[in-house]
């Protein structure tokens, strides 16, 4: 049942006259754990595609330091026990140089202790609730200070101070909700309701009633998984029409491509990538993606981040002239390690090993059309270093939250 796809993109190299060198060199192995079946398959498949596109482009351009890139992909099917089993397998048996992947925060936290114990290097590619201060991990997705500190104050100014939070009942939902509260309460907001929904729940009649009773100005949505997105259809059928903000909708779940028009109306999000982005760099990137995967429903931010992760890794190894974690960490510690990504230039913050991003505010209208409302520009991942995480000095391998700060 476990799928193992060995994708040797090196086949392109001989055609370009790089054959002898590339074939002689031992490949750089990338272990990839991405769900392409199970409840999260729809958002996991673009991630696999992003890695494959990056590997092809890297190999076509001569590989990393002349060595071809080899992807070893396993499908954990959204099961955290499989994530652990497969992480051990690719790190110990296949001896990969770097581990990339994981969708939910639960899967990341399942893998991270194994990475730490085996002293491996791991790149997490999703936007997430932030706070992981771990020298073995590079995070290339957006974090709350990039997604929430931009989006939520804008929502408050535009729509009002009464907010209802609906969150998935696991670490991502709880932490993102705590994050929201820590941004919203100082602005004088009132959280008129907060509900945590078990993963897999698909019926929301009670929640919809509770919202109507609490009469919020807007909804803060942290639902996860296909079952929970049934909420939007059901809320509309009951005639509830409120503005909504979420760090995981549209650019991640591409609900506007899957649901009939009107269902996602008035959803607002802050994104470092969304397929409707029309800068020259983005247009070029989308053209290359669509040439390789013409049937992609949507090039989502996770797929984009997965592409960026491989490119970032190439830059790190080439600057370090080594695939050893310690050498790579020295490059990250320099403070100027970055790449020209399709969204714009992004740079690794040495203290937290998270990336800066160019953030934009987007919304969906009644015709499922996405428009850009505001360009926040380059936003640094400042929160971890602010609370005292400095990976250039010490490596606590911890996840911090607004409720769990480092002891200084």
């Amino acid at each position: 049942m476990n799928r193992r796809s060995l994708l040797l993109g090196a086949t392109a190299a001989p055609l370009l006259g790089l054959g002898h060198f590339a074939q002689a060199a031992t490949p750089i192995k990338i272990g990839l754990l991405e769900d392409i079946s199970g409840d999260l398959a729809s958002i996991g498949l673009p991630k696999l595609h992003g890695s494959q596109l990056a590997a092809d482009e890297v190999n076509a351009a001569g590989g990393i330091m002349g060595r071809p890139v080899e992807l070893i992909h396993l499908d954990p099917q959204g099961d955290n026990a499989r994530y652990q089993e497969f992480a051990r397998r690719v790190l110990q048996r296949d001896k990969v140089d770097v581990l990339i992947g994981g969708i939910t925060s639960a899967s990341r936290e399942a893998v991270r202790p194994i990475v730490d114990r085996l002293n491996a290097f791991y790149i997490y590619t999703n936007q997430y609730e932030g706070g992981v201060c771990d020298g073995s991990m590079l995070s290339v997705g957006a974090v709350p200070e990039q997604q929430l500190s931009t989006l939520l104050p804008w929502m408050v100014e535009k729509f009002g101070k009464k907010i209802y939070t609906i969150a998935a009942d696991y670490n991502f939902g709880h932490l993102s909700s705590a994050w929201g509260n820590s941004i919203l309460k100082p602005l004088g907001c009132e959280i008129v309701g907060e509900e945590f929904i078990p993963l897999g729940v698909s019926q929301f009649a009670q929640t919809i009633q509770n919202i109507q009773r609490a009469k919020p100005d807007w909804l803060y949505m942290l639902d996860v998984g296909a079952a929970q997105t049934s909420f939007y259809e059901q809320k509309n059928a009951a005639g509830v029409s409120l503005p909504m903000a979420s760090p995981v909708k549209i650019m991640l779940g591409f609900e506007h491509k899957r649901f009939p028009p009107g269902v996602m109306k008035d959803m607002y999000a802050a994104a470092n990538w969304f397929e409707e982005l029309d800068t020259p760099g983005a247009e070029n990137f989308k053209k290359r993606w669509r040439a390789k995967f013409p049937n992609e429903v949507y090039v989502n931010d996770m797929g984009y981040n997965a592409y960026v992760a491989v490119m970032m890794y190439k830059m790190l190894v080439e600057r370090a002239k080594s695939t050893k974690k310690d050498d790579i960490r020295q490059v990250m510690a320099a403070g100027d390690a970055g790449i020209e990504a399709p969204e714009g230039r992004i740079v690794i913050d040495p203290k937290s090993q998270h990336c800066s991003h160019v953030m934009r505010l987007i919304s969906v209208d009644a015709q499922n059309k996405v428009s850009t409302l505001k360009d926040f520009g380059d936003i640094k991942p400042y929160w971890l270093s602010q609370v005292g995480c400095d990976l250039t000095k010490s490596d606590p391998k911890e996840q911090y939250t607004p409720d769990h700060l480092p002891t200084r």
Binding site: M1, I36, S37, G38, D39, A41, S42, G44, L45, D169, E195, F196, I197, P198, G200, V201, S202, Q203, A205, Q206, T207, Q209, Q212, R213, A226, A227, T229, S230, E233, Q234, N236, A237, A238, G239, V240, E255, R258, F259, P260, G262, V263, V297
Partner: protein
């Protein structure tokens, strides 16, 4: 006041119809044949996908839903003849076969159709009572669940097939000796069970996001209702759904969805402890 009262009724009706519709097909197959159909969720998914596909092809929604129900029923009958029939006296093996079937169906859909499928908008719009908005379609679902119960009652109590089916259920050997074709009754029962699962999917298709694993979101409720109800659809499923809906609605309203789900499962444990054969076993014992 009016709004709150109606709200309680609406919540109850919503949970009740979800339990009845998701459990009816499973209960018929289990009650009639003793087969635990692990592919029940995938018959529901089949109903959803056929409904959505035919709807996108241009059929009006009610016709598309009829297609979803019929296709699930037909697939059910074919599978009964091909896969289930050789395993009549091997309940554990039939459990394994249907489980394998569910894996094949989920992964097959993923491979053939892809990881997402365009949804259908919920028809009917909303209405207001006492300041709260409600969905018209949810009331349609409640009516449909009552119709399903009425259909099952009429089918088993008022038709020739029903008499044969009950005879086979009580004593298959004796029924066969009297000229009832057991295999025909079983194939039809399995088809009806699969069709009711397809109907459940067809009815919920416009309210959910469509993915290959969506059958799983019905499975817990379906099995729990059948376990509490016992082997008879008529005496079991309806009272079980009503009792569980009351427990869940109350807890959902006062303590939220998590407690509602925990409470539902605790209620099931308690009911099974007191009534080991479920509601239908208890009612049958009181009668005899």
């Amino acid at each position: 006041m009016m709004g709150n009262l109606f709200s309680y009724f609406y919540q109850f009706a919503d949970v009740f119809s979800f339990l009845v519709l998701s459990a009816a097909g499973l209960a018929i197959i289990f009650g009639m044949m003793g087969v635990i159909n692990m592919a029940h969720g995938e018959f529901i998914m089949c109903g959803v996908y056929v409904t959505a596909a035919t709807f996108h092809a241009g059929l009006p929604l009610p016709l598309a839903q009829a297609c979803g129900t019929l296709v699930a029923a037909l697939i059910g009958m074919v599978l009964e003849v091909v896969l289930i029939r050789p395993l009549y006296n091997r309940p554990l093996d039939s459990l394994l076969v249907t489980w394998g079937l569910s894996l094949v169906a989920t992964q097959g859909t993923l491979v053939l159709v892809g990881s997402t499928f365009p949804g259908i908008g919920t028809p009917g719009g909303g209405f207001e009572v006492g300041g709260y908005g409600f969905s018209v379609y949810r009331m349609v679902l409640f009516a449909a669940s009552l119709l399903v119960l009425a259909f099952v009652y009429l089918l088993f109590m008022r038709t020739r097939f029903g008499v044969h089916a009950r005879a086979v259920m009580q004593n298959a050997g004796m029924a066969q000796a009297l000229g009832v074709r057991r295999s025909q009754v079983y194939a039809l029962s399995f088809g009806i069970g699969a069709g009711l699962a397809g109907l459940c999917g067809a009815l919920y298709a416009p309210t959910m996001s469509l993915i290959p694993t969506m059958g799983a979101s019905f499975i817990v409720e379906a099995f729990v209702t059948v376990v509490v109800g016992g082997s008879s659809v008529l005496l079991g499923t309806a009272p079980a759904a009503a009792a569980l809906a009351i427990v869940r609605t109350g807890l959902n309203a006062w303590y939220g969805q998590i407690i509602g789900q925990i409470g539902l499962l605790i209620a099931v444990i308690l009911i099974i402890r007191v009534l080991p054969d479920g509601f239908s076993g208890w009612l049958a014992k009181r009668e005899s």
